[in-house]
């Protein structure tokens, strides 16, 4: 197991001022979420209903996918299936190349991030422009989003001002969000107008109708799609919902959970292409069918990518999204990434205090922190954990199963804290003592007191 995550987190935490700021920004969103949900008496019922709908979806996934395909095809939509990221990317390129399209706009899609679509398009000389403001910012900086809903939450406005000065020609030193947003608006409008194809993610795909639902605040997905000749919607296979009316549950949960808005500004439903244009939907597996096999972790496929677990996470707020070294950061990412690629992400489930706030905030009631706990077991049993670590834990287990040994160890420790000099106790190798003093050691342990006072 590497320790990159631990190192990156430590480095981030050392910048106390930035941590103050990052933590406050995200806590602010969590508070907005609280305000909007606490005004809704049926909130918990909505969560329960959504959770059960999604469980139904996971259980019936193959049938629902076929139903979706049938209905979408009848609507004049071309449906594609991709086993993995590579195949997904090839399908996109092939659609674009068959139409001689070399410029495309893309709205927010964690799936295309997961598939690293942009790199693939660029390799094929296709210009791709992310049109969500936050995504555009990180694209210009050539980095990954640090959050699934707020891609540029890690950046200060001065940093964005600097970036825009360099790439969009805004005034040097200008950092007013209004001014910068306006500059991006103008810049992106030229991109919308010159692109003949648009790629979007999908929030929900309705089996019963064969349509897709896309939620944004900026309207960028719709600007792209409705100006383009070719619209391509990319989705993981778990995004299916059975019925049209299920949207009445999910749209009520999504915006409130994500940002505390009663709904996203734009909720668009695309069923058929405009006359004379093409509409494609790509259904992507990329590890999901394997993930679905694992009973303990299956429920994480319910995720609707609202980001609430990320905003509330006391670790994420102080560690920053990039420290996770994964496409999806935060609590849900610490399940999704290691479940699919344990060799790269084995450390993530351990970077949590298991406080459980994620579980209580999740609109589809994923037992996130319980899965993190189970994933820890899974990782120590199956993947590469340094032998020294296993040895030290075996040693601890031996002490704890032998009460006499345990008592010896305990009284030695107490004796040590009372009698040894500070430097011996608070040596750097003692990770507890590096940050904290030990409690003042009492003369007697509880057991010793009990023997003296309650046994005759």
């Amino acid at each position: 197991m590497s320790t990159t995550v631990a190192r990156d987190i430590e480095a981030y935490v050392r910048d106390e001022k930035r941590v103050d700021w990052h933590d406050e920004s995200l806590w602010h969103i969590r508070s907005k979420r609280d305000r909007s949900t606490h005004g809704l008496p049926e909130w918990e019922q909505l969560r329960q209903t959504a959770s059960q709908i999604k469980e139904h979806v996971i259980s019936k996934l193959p049938d629902l996918l076929e139903e979706f395909e049938r209905n979408a095809t009848a609507n004049g939509v071309k449906v594609h299936w991709a086993r993995d990221a590579q195949e997904h990317n090839e399908i996109v390129v092939q659609i674009l190349q068959s139409q001689q399209i070399d410029k495309v706009v893309k709205s927010k899609s964690m799936l295309t991030e997961e598939c690293k679509l942009n790199h693939h398009l660029e390799k094929h000389a296709i210009q791709v422009v992310d049109t969500d403001l936050g995504e555009r910012i990180v694209q210009l900086r050539d980095e990954e989003p640090s959050h699934i809903v707020l891609p540029a939450i890690h950046l200060k406005k001065e940093e964005i001002g600097e970036l825009f000065h360099e790439h969009l020609g805004t005034d040097k030193g200008a950092a007013d969000p209004k001014y910068l947003t306006e500059a991006a608006r103008q810049h992106l409008r030229t991109k919308f107008l010159e692109s003949t194809a648009a790629i979007t993610g999908v929030n929900f795909a309705i089996a019963e109708t064969g349509g897709v639902t896309i939620c944004t605040n900026e309207g960028n997905a719709d600007l792209g799609v409705n100006l383009a000749r070719v619209q391509i919607h990319c989705m993981g296979i778990e995004k299916i919902i059975p019925r049209w009316t299920d949207l009445g549950i999910f749209t009520r949960l999504l915006g409130r959970s994500a940002t505390g808005q009663s709904t996203t500004i734009y909720t668009s439903h695309y069923h058929k292409p405009r006359p004379g244009t093409e509409m494609h939907i790509i259904l992507v597996d990329n590890g999901r069918s394997e993930h679905r096999k694992r009973e303990d972790f299956r429920a994480s496929l319910k995720c609707i990518r609202c980001g609430a677990c990320i905003n509330t996470c006391p670790v994420y707020r102080r560690a920053g999204g990039h420290s996770y070294g994964a496409t999806i950061p935060g609590p849900i990412g610490s399940i999704l990434n290691p479940t699919r690629k344990p060799e790269d992400h084995a450390e993530l489930p351990f970077a949590s205090s298991l406080c459980g706030s994620c579980t209580d905030v999740c609109p589809v009631k994923i037992n996130i922190h319980e899965q993190l706990y189970l994933l820890r077991q899974d990782i120590t049993e199956t993947s590469v954990v340094p032998a020294s670590k296993t040895r030290s834990f075996s040693f601890l287990a031996r002490i704890l199963t032998r009460p006499r040994l345990y008592r010896m160890a305990g009284s030695t420790a107490r004796w040590a804290t009372r009698n040894l000099p500070r430097w011996a106790i608070y040596h750097r190798s003692n990770a507890w003592g590096q940050y904290r003093d030990l409690p003042a050691a009492p003369q007697d342990s509880f057991r010793e007191w009990y023997m003296k006072n309650r046994t005759s």
């Binding site: 299936w81 707020l150 947003t181 107008l193 605040n217 296979i237 500004i265």
Partner: protein, 212 residues
């Protein structure tokens, strides 16, 4: 094996215990007055302007955009401004419009002066509104799907409309076979720069809702 059958076979190869679909929660009904009050409050909170009563269309349009000259309406409105009743998008938007747009970008002074590309104001009709979030719904009867997004300012007339309490009620009423429909809950916005709310991100800069 095709990817399709491969994926389906893999999914079918895993037995997952069946879970039935749940019933929807029932939500207490509200009176019409309460609905209207909620609608107004939530629309304003989302940054929309709601107006009703004696309507002066010249004023409504001017207050959305004082310098509007490219105005489109899908219905008859009584105004002293010249209004397009039909709107054709050029086959290829790209070259000329991009050029027009980039001219406005040569000087940064102009960034704060919205330049007219395509439409300044669009006036569209809706028949469905939702109280819990102050949103309105548009369907495929919109002449071009892009109008509500590309226009600088959007005015929605609610005529003969249903005002429902929640999104759940809205989906109940809507025809699921519509080729396209959209729920709009305010002007385009973003908070992607340091969480500061900016109205007018990429699509319409303002949303005026007119109750008729």
């Amino acid at each position: 094996m095709s990817s399709r059958s491969d994926i389906l076979a893999r999914l079918r190869g895993t037995a997952v215990p069946a879970v039935s679909l749940p019933a929807y929660p029932t939500i207490p009904e509200l009176t019409q007055e309460a609905l209207v009050e909620r609608f107004r409050a939530n629309a304003s909170a989302a940054g929309s302007t709601v107006i009703s009563g004696n309507l002066n269309w010249s004023e409504i349009i001017s207050s959305a955009s004082p310098s509007a000259h490219k105005i489109y309406s899908d219905g008859n409105i009584d105004t002293d401004k010249s209004v397009m009743r039909s709107f054709s998008l050029p086959e290829t938007l790209s070259k000329s419009h991009t050029a027009e747009l980039s001219r406005t970008r040569t000087s940064t002074d102009n960034i704060n002066q919205p330049h007219s590309v395509l439409l300044d104001v669009a006036v569209l009709t809706s028949h469905l509104a939702v109280a819990e979030n102050g949103s309105i719904w548009l369907t495929d009867s919109v002449e071009h799907r892009v109008i509500p997004f590309i226009t600088e300012h959007l005015i929605i007339r609610l005529i003969d409309y249903d005002l429902v309490a929640t999104m759940a009620d809205a989906y109940d009423r809507l025809d699921s076979s519509l080729a396209f429909c959209i729920c709009i809950a305010g002007p385009s916005k973003t908070a992607d720069i340091e969480q500061s709310l900016v109205i007018g991100a990429q699509a319409a800069r303002s949303l005026t809702i007119v109750l008729e």
